[in-house]
């Protein structure tokens, strides 16, 4: 194709492309806004209902926005449910799980990414395999094991099964592989120990990955439900989701009081949403990294 002959047909095409885009832009915005409205509707409904009076909650047709905002639902809920205690339980478990994951997953991630040792490929295969095994497969013997170890209703029982996850190892390995080998070789030449290299050179370099991993692990633990449900019988050791679920599914307790339940959901969901919005970049980065092996 010569320059002269191609010039004529290309011109109109080039000018058509951006026009097409700008024409469809309102459509795109409309569709996305509608979608966003659907996505946020349950949150809005929760946030508004938590502040409604009893009569407005059960009004038919429903009241959309409370006319007089009340904290009565929160007061009643806190009377019936020791939320500060469950909040602390959730925080303690999530912090312990996160710290141990950061340390142990980084250690193995470093070994898999940067150390040449016999059995490395086998361990990596193990990690990949562990990623695929559903958690349900472990619940029953894990409960028996924890009963035997007398760790039911203890923080250790809640933390240990999640103290090091395959996802974390995978994530850390991916990030650590991008560190140049020359840097580590230079440190080794200078007589640095492997631990020093790992702790003082590699770890500071992968701070963004550590941030991503902490957010994911903390939230995973915060939102975890099945294992805490199984591993706790004593209501004093319930985590927030277990306490809320027990409250919500027991007709004698919540008694169909949607106001209290919305207040409870509001108190559990709000901190998560705030943290997420503040740190949203790390979330999407983590998902994308895990997806692009």
């Amino acid at each position: 194709m010569s320059a002269t002959s191609s010039k004529a047909p290309v011109e109109p095409l080039k000018s058509r492309a951006p026009k097409q885009r700008s024409a469809s832009r309102p459509v795109v915005y409309t569709l996305l806004s509608l979608g966003l409205l659907v996505m946020s509707a349950p949150f809005l409904w929760m946030g508004l209902s938590a502040f409604k009076t009893q009569s407005e909650l059960s009004a038919s047709p429903p009241v959309w926005i409370p006319t007089e905002w009340t904290l009565e639902n929160f007061r009643q809920l806190l009377d019936k449910l020791d939320l500060p205690l469950y909040f602390m339980n959730s925080v303690i478990v999530a912090v312990l799980v996160t710290v141990s994951n950061l340390v142990f997953c980084s250690m193995l991630g470093y070994a898999l990414a940067k150390l040449n040792f016999v059995g490395r490929n086998k361990i990596f295969g193990l990690v990949l395999g562990a990623l695929m095994v559903p958690g349900n497969l472990m619940l029953l013997p894990l409960f028996v094991l924890m009963s035997k170890l007398q760790l039911i209703d203890s923080y250790a029982g809640l933390v240990l099964p999640f103290a090091a996850g395959a996802f974390g190892v995978f994530l850390m390995r991916q990030f650590m592989q991008s560190i140049p080998d020359e840097l580590l070789e230079a440190a080794r030449m200078d007589g640095a120990s492997e631990w020093y290299i790992f702790w003082r050179i590699v770890m500071p370099l992968v701070k963004p990955a550590l941030a991503t991993l902490s957010i994911f692990t903390f939230l995973g633990s915060w939102n975890n439900f099945v294992w805490p449900l199984i591993a706790t019988n004593d209501p004093d050791k319930y985590t927030l989701p277990v306490a809320l679920a027990t409250f919500a599914t027991d007709p004698n307790k919540a008694g169909g009081s949607n106001g209290m339940l919305m207040a409870g959901a509001f108190l559990i969901v709000l901190p998560v949403l705030v943290v997420f919005i503040a740190l949203q970049r790390h979330f999407t980065q983590g998902i994308a990294t895990a997806g692009m092996k």
Binding site: L13, L36, M39, N136, L240, M262, I268
Partner: protein
């Protein structure tokens, strides 16, 4: 020195990656011995936890599935009796289990395509012509993913409440009466699916955005210069190049949905008439409410085999189409 160690380890190290510093024999390059020791030291904490809290339970579930493991065996596991394949045989004559298997399949077959499809549409919309507001929309669509599922399920129970819920309100605005979504055998499962799609679309969207951004702009530009319409560009460029992402998103969504537990546990407790009883919920009940742990273990393994089978099938089907 380094030659002798390498010789000594030669046959064992055959499959491993090449030594990084083969050229620089001077200086204090660590011997393979040091790297071996360090590698294992760094691996040990994970491997110990993995063995005790994952590998052992996975094997124990398998062993338990061939026994009549019950409540008394929680304190005396060794007294459980081997009964061969009895649990497995019983499962396939157990109407409740077959129903839970069907319900789980229903959830996956409807839920996965919806999640993938909507996630893809949102990602494509976000990737076309939206620049400034992209973060805003992305945050909005991803928010349900990070929220505590139990709390969200409680909220959805109220959203779907036929007398004073959000949907009932919308219905009454146009003069209709809302059905009792969660109390109806035909509508309960679709309601749970809608909630699951709402919650998981964000994950898929993020994966697709990453996939779309990995497509070189030159390819799209070239298609435009050739006069491809938006739809043609989408069909013959975006979709084929996005195939690995579609595969990954489909596999993880399917695995997640096959394990569905929290939604029916909190919203319907498996009802009405077991119409939302999933395999995971069934297993939980058999294991921890009735303490039929041997039976529940067999259930867990059937589910595991189903998951593995479907995953392998998906990998094969979607990979073969690449050509």
């Amino acid at each position: 020195m380094s030659t002798t160690t390498e010789k000594a380890r030669g046959p064992r190290k055959a499959g491993a990656a090449p030594s990084p510093a083969a050229g620089g024999s001077r200086g204090r390059k660590p011997s393979m011995g040091v790297q071996n020791a360090a590698g294992w030291l760094f691996s040990t904490p994970f491997l110990v936890l993995f063995t005790v809290f994952m590998a052992f339970p996975i094997l124990a579930t398998l062993v338990m599935s061939f026994t009549d493991f019950g409540l008394r065996n929680v304190t005396r596991p060794w007294e459980a009796e081997f009964i061969g394949f009895e649990n497995y045989v019983n499962l396939f004559g157990d109407e409740k289990f077959l129903k839970s298997l069907f319900n789980t399949g229903y959830f996956v077959v409807i839920g996965v395509p919806l999640t993938i499809g909507i996630g893809l549409v949102v990602a494509v919309l976000l990737n076309n012509g939206i620049d400034r507001a992209r973060t805003f929309f992305r945050v909005g669509f991803y928010a349900p993913v990070v929220t505590t599922i139990v709390a969200v399920a409680v909220v959805w129970r109220f959203v779907l409440d036929p007398s004073d819920g959000l949907i009932a309100g919308l219905f009454s605005e146009v003069g209709w009466t809302a059905p009792d979504f969660l109390g109806s055998e035909t509508l309960a499962m679709p309601s749970l699916i809608v909630m699951a799609v709402w919650r998981n679309v964000g994950t898929v969207m993020v994966l697709f955005i990453a996939g779309l951004q990995a497509i070189p702009t030159e390819v799209r530009e070239a298609a435009k210069l050739d006069g491809a319409s938006v739809w043609q560009e989408f069909r013959s460029i975006t979709i084929p190049l996005l195939r690995p992402t579609v595969l990954y998103a489909t596999v993880i969504t399917t695995i997640g949905y096959l394990n569905v537990f929290e939604e029916p546990f909190v919203m319907t407790q498996g009802g009405p008439s077991d119409s939302t009883l999933t395999v995971s919920l069934n297993m939980y009940r058999e294991g921890f409410n009735f303490f039929h742990m041997g039976y529940a273990s067999a259930m867990a393994y059937v589910l595991f085999v189903v998951i593995m089978g479907i995953t392998v099938l998906q990998l094969r089907l979607l990979k073969d189409n690449t050509k």
